[in-house]
């Protein structure tokens, strides 16, 4: 089955590629045995599916009128310059870079897309040396089921809808968006686009998309506004530079995670419990709430000296834990 279909598709490509003009559906049928041998109805269905397959393969199938002056007969053609990969010279270092890029995606669909691209470049005469590729490199590994459909929607400019659950909220909302692009930061993936219900740009974390992603329009039915700056849109996602500093005492040998970004200012300090051997650390931080949470995780291995606000935040949260445990 596959073989017969492959033959038919390839012969159709060749026919439309070498023809000088548009070829009508009837001419195509008369030239191709599998179409000739089918009933009218079966041929119609087969031809429609074959056209879809060619388009899915990225083959630019054009529809036009056989005679410019009499717009009655429609035909098909594949223009060679739109079909063929133009001659591009990649230098050896560029080829090596492409080889590395081909291994960045750890996602079945996207990895397949990159290797298809590389296959075409190989077909154009490039050779990728596997040995050269053994090199440490970044990886992109989106795992959210919503990634692939939203990526496709972004590439093809297809409006979509999905159910979304906001952080800490139970209620799902159905959102309608025109995806503009994807953002990844620290292993998390987001899609940014126009939320058409709200008329404003919005970002959505893919792990919170809880339904299938459904197309609500045709590919190419919107365009991304000129000058859209994803970087600005995603600013809220990137970690702010630490701009505050706390003084924290840590027991010797403890709070190792904290020490990795702290400066030790004094050692051999006597702690509030009267034991010696504490270290005084200066620790940069951004958000008081988050940093207090981190410090709380070290339990009695750390104590905040200053600022007072942070010290109070930590101690009052500890008091509430004890309260909660007692009830």
């Amino acid at each position: 089955m596959v073989t017969a279909k492959s033959e038919r598709l390839l012969n159709l490509v060749i026919l439309l590629l070498v023809a000088r003009n548009y070829t009508t559906k009837e001419q195509i049928r008369s030239l191709m045995e599998p179409y000739r041998a089918s009933s009218d109805e079966a041929f119609d269905r087969m031809f429609e599916r074959d056209k879809d397959d060619l388009r899915a393969l990225g083959i630019p199938l054009e529809v036009g009128f056989v005679d410019k002056f009499f717009e009655d007969e429609q035909g098909y053609r594949i223009k060679r310059d739109a079909f063929e990969l133009p001659a591009i010279d990649f230098s050896a270092d560029e080829v090596a870079v492409l080889g590395l890029a081909a291994r960045v995606w750890r996602h079945a669909g996207l990895a397949a897309a990159t290797s298809d691209a590389l296959m075409k470049l190989k077909a154009a005469g490039l050779s990728f040396d596997r040995e050269q590729l053994d090199h440490v490199q970044p990886t992109l590994a989106p795992q959210d089921p919503a990634f692939e459909p939203l990526w496709q929607a972004t590439v093809h400019r297809t409006p979509v809808q999905f159910d979304y659950s906001r952080a800490g909220q139970r209620d799902l909302t159905t959102r309608h968006i025109q995806p503009w692009g994807v953002i990844t930061t620290q292993g998390r993936w987001y899609v940014a686009g126009l939320d058409t219900d709200r008329g404003e740009p919005r970002m959505f974390r893919l792990s919170r998309v809880v339904s299938d992603v459904v197309a609500t329009g045709e590919p190419g039915s919107y365009s991304v506004p000129e000058g859209t700056d994803l970087r600005a849109l995603s600013q809220s996602l990137t970690p702010r530079e630490a701009d505050r500093s706390a003084v924290v005492l840590a027991r010797a040998g403890a709070a190792i995670g904290l020490r990795r970004r702290a400066d030790i200012t004094t050692t051999g300090v006597t702690g509030p419990d009267g034991t010696p051997g504490w270290d005084q650390l200066a620790v940069p931080y951004v958000s008081q709430t988050d940093f207090a949470g981190e410090l709380l995780g070290y339990a009695d291995a750390v104590v905040v000296e200053s600022p007072a606000e942070l010290r109070n935040a930590v101690s009052s949260r500890l008091a509430r834990v004890i309260q909660g445990a007692a009830t």
Partner: protein
Amino acid sequence: MSGAREQVSRLLALVPYLQSRGDVSLTQVAADFDVTPDQIRKDLGVLWMCGLPGLTPDKMIDVDFEAIEDDPDGVVRIENAEYLARPVRVGSSEASALIVALRALREGSPESAYEVIDRCLVKLEEAAATGTAPPKVELHLEQNEASQRHAAALREAIATNRQARLDYYVPTRDEATRRTVDPLELLTSDGHDYLDAWCHLAGARRLFRLDRMQAVELVDEPRQEHDLAPRDLSEGLFEPGPDNVVAVVHLEPHARWVADYYPVDTVEELGGGRLAATLRVDDPRWLVRLALRLAPSVTVVEPATMRSDLERTAKAALSLYDDAHGRSGEHAASAQGGGVA
């Protein structure tokens, strides 16, 4: 039916590939296309049935089957296919995937590599189908040179069949440990890189996050043999172990994410946005630490032992604050003012 699409896509590359090269063996072709030699034979069988319209013998593509019939090192030759001399343009999905990969590479590279990557990006845009604009993408990769160094060392350990010694930080216990492992494989899940290894210290198979390794050292000992199936990460990283204790926690509205993030057995709405979740805990210290970090939004309900562990730990920590030498006065003010960068 996608089988045919895949095959035609390969054939449209195979024909120009063979014509743009001199003598290529069947084995080499199969390797370049990442399929078996048998698949290439089947592909050539399809090709042999194709040609110019009319398909009379003189119009058919000619394939030299004899050369490759029994010999994988035989040379693959085709003739009469000059009209398919170039591959198809790179499609918009393909170009987009590759462009994003290049940008990721650029992000993770030293500045000296920018120039060559930028040249590639420009050329790829030329290669892409006309009228395609790649989607906008913004990448903020975790930049961790140390992790990359560790990955290289561990890859070498695997390639040369050697053990490795890790200085590894365990955040749950706030411990730095030194352990010898038999490295098995490097894996990526949820944006983090892991080493799957047999740990001599634990006497069991463990996953280690690369960004928690403080040092990696190769040991001149061959890895011990373990009969282990490859790990399947599709279900996530957590595997309940035999020693797990079932715990019940109550989550306030803004700690609800805990139930999404950690594998929970059951979840129940408590009203007002609060959740009750049961989860399996293999180290009580992990749960105590989680409850403290999110305090007071996580309440441990069961088991009673973990509940009292949490209370005792919180009391010990709070005792450090409730004496006279709380340094809220001038000391705090000066430290704040003199903020260390």
